[in-house]
């Protein structure tokens, strides 16, 4: 009997058990924060405050005439940018686990196969949420006005998280497939630049050359930033929410299976 001809019997764990495994590993991911308090300070406090200070006070006057107008324009976009940057680091932690043997330990346990990946993702989404809230609070303190309503502003943050999950699968796929952490960081860096800068996050896109505008128009980040702006400052929502959700669904549909396949086949 050839072993390769016999597929493994899939052992279906109940949804509750699977969820419990995922949450235990989310807890482990968050314990890393406790182990590295510098990460909390950096992620949650320094980065949002620095980003606001730099962009709004350095560029604000030049771009919009005065800093208050620019803050009102840019903050929703900064929230988007912050979540994108932070989500793209998900894969790095997974890659590290794979190279230092933690995944082997986890995979030798009778737990849901997907739990180690979901644990990382949920842990990261928790950080992203904290970062978003901090940015919003910092913005409010500097004079940003929510002109729509609290519910609307919260749904804006929720939208950013949903898109973040879609993008997290891209990062996970990179993290699972890459041979080294350096590769993961390089890919994430390369990916984040055209996503966040070639969009309407920082400036209106009508001064860009045509070919760049073409990308900026379909760039999910532009749609997401538009949606967040409308949900926080008011203004036309248009189809931006649908575009954002559509992108989130597409990224998940394409990259989650890729990530899972690479994860199953990975032999180190």
């Amino acid at each position: 009997m050839s072993a390769s001809a016999t597929a493994p019997v899939r052992h279906r764990l109940g949804l509750v058990t699977t969820a419990r495994h995922c949450f235990s590993l989310t807890g482990r991911n968050l314990l890393h924060l406790k182990a590295n308090p510098g990460e909390i300070v950096g992620f949650v406090f320094v980065q949002p405050l620095l980003v606001i200070a730099l962009l709004v006070y350095v560029f604000g006057g030049a771009i919009s005439g005065d800093t208050a107008t620019y803050l009102q324009y840019a903050l929703p976009g900064l929230i988007v940018q912050n979540s994108v940057m932070s989500v793209l680091t998900t894969g790095a932690g997974i890659n590290q686990d794979m190279s230092n043997g933690v995944f082997d330990r986890l995979r030798s346990l009778p737990i849901a196969r997907i739990a180690p990946l979901i644990g990382h993702m949920l842990g990261h989404m928790t950080r992203v949420t904290a970062g978003l809230l901090m940015l919003l609070v910092a913005g409010l303190l500097q004079g940003f006005e929510i002109r729509t309503g609290l519910l609307s502003a919260l749904s804006a943050l929720l939208l950013a998280l949903v898109f973040g999950i879609g993008l997290a699968w891209v990062s996970i796929a990179i993290g699972v497939s890459a041979r080294s952490a350096t590769t993961v960081h390089m890919f994430s860096g390369v990916l984040s630049l055209p996503l966040t800068f070639v969009s309407n996050v920082f400036v209106e896109t009508d001064t860009m050359p045509g070919w760049l505008q073409a990308w900026a128009k379909i760039n999910p980040i532009s749609h997401e930033a538009t949606a967040l702006r409308a949900l926080m400052s008011g203004g036309p929502l248009g189809t931006s929410v649908w575009w954002t959700l559509g992108w989130a669904a597409t990224l998940t549909a394409v990259f989650a299976p890729l990530a899972l396949r690479a994860y199953r086949q990975r032999v180190v």
């Binding site: 052992h11 346990l109 009778p110 032999v267």
Partner: protein, 339 residues
Amino acid sequence: MTYTIETRGLVKRFGEVTALDGLALTARQGTVLGVLGPNGAGKTTAVRILASLLRPDEGSARVCGWDVARHPHEVRRLIGLTGQYASVDQDLTGQQNIVLVARLLGFSRSAARRRAAELLGRFGLTDAAGRKARTYSGGMRRRLDLAVCLVGDPSVLYLDEPTTGLDPESRSQLWDIVRGLVTGGTTVLLTTQYMDEADQLSDDIVVIDAGKSIATGTPEELKAKTDRQTLEIQPADPAQLETAGKLVAELSGTRPHVAGTQLRLHVNDLALPGAVLRRLDEAGIEVMELALRKPSLNEVFLSLTGHQNRHEDPATATTEAAGPAETAEPAEAAERSRT
């Protein structure tokens, strides 16, 4: 007889490289199977297959009757894996590492904490419980690794080179722990490149080289298998070494080898020592010491694989180089299999 661990004809290739080439091994319940082999012999690949982390290209592996490739989940319920590759989370404390695995195995929060306290105590890590594993010494980390493996009381334990890089004291501590576990009924598969480790711990040994088993047996059987016992003769007067050597050569048909003040000779004939002693006595040569020594596992390993185990100390290595001309057939077979 059913074995707790059993592989048949395991083959695993990584691209051009054949890591396992038809490996067969068996381990009985409640015993230690030592898997002995040089670097790159395929030990870790075998462990990874048995731990359901890799699927074999051909052949089968069973743990407690479960086929590893077909029923990985059932196998994972029975095993604990520790060693070179599977590892603890260095950013968590010792206590957090154990609690995490306990929670994953279904322990309640308080039961997980109790289990952690108990295991930390058992492995002498109570004082270090709240420190990150990153700050542990090599020996402490191996002990924590082992503690994490034992959370679910596995009936089969894989130890992949558990003492590589440890100081002698940590090594013997770990050996004691393993002996304790086996007394409790655990079946252990231990890979090692150290002869003394295999000799000390194993009930059975399988020597593997180039991805296949080249010898199996108890440590005693393996030593007996290479039928080269060594006769050591030390005349009281070193000046008589040469005369004694001639007499021994007449009796045995081969010239003994002179090592310091000793004559050494590989013998198959067990009547020879007595004859030598009588003959020397007749010739008036006083013998201070005459001993018949079984080969060390290292010698066995050398004669089986045909190459020196790199991790042995150089002093013993030179003694073995004494009889390379007599290297037995299996060595040639091993050579052939590598090409």
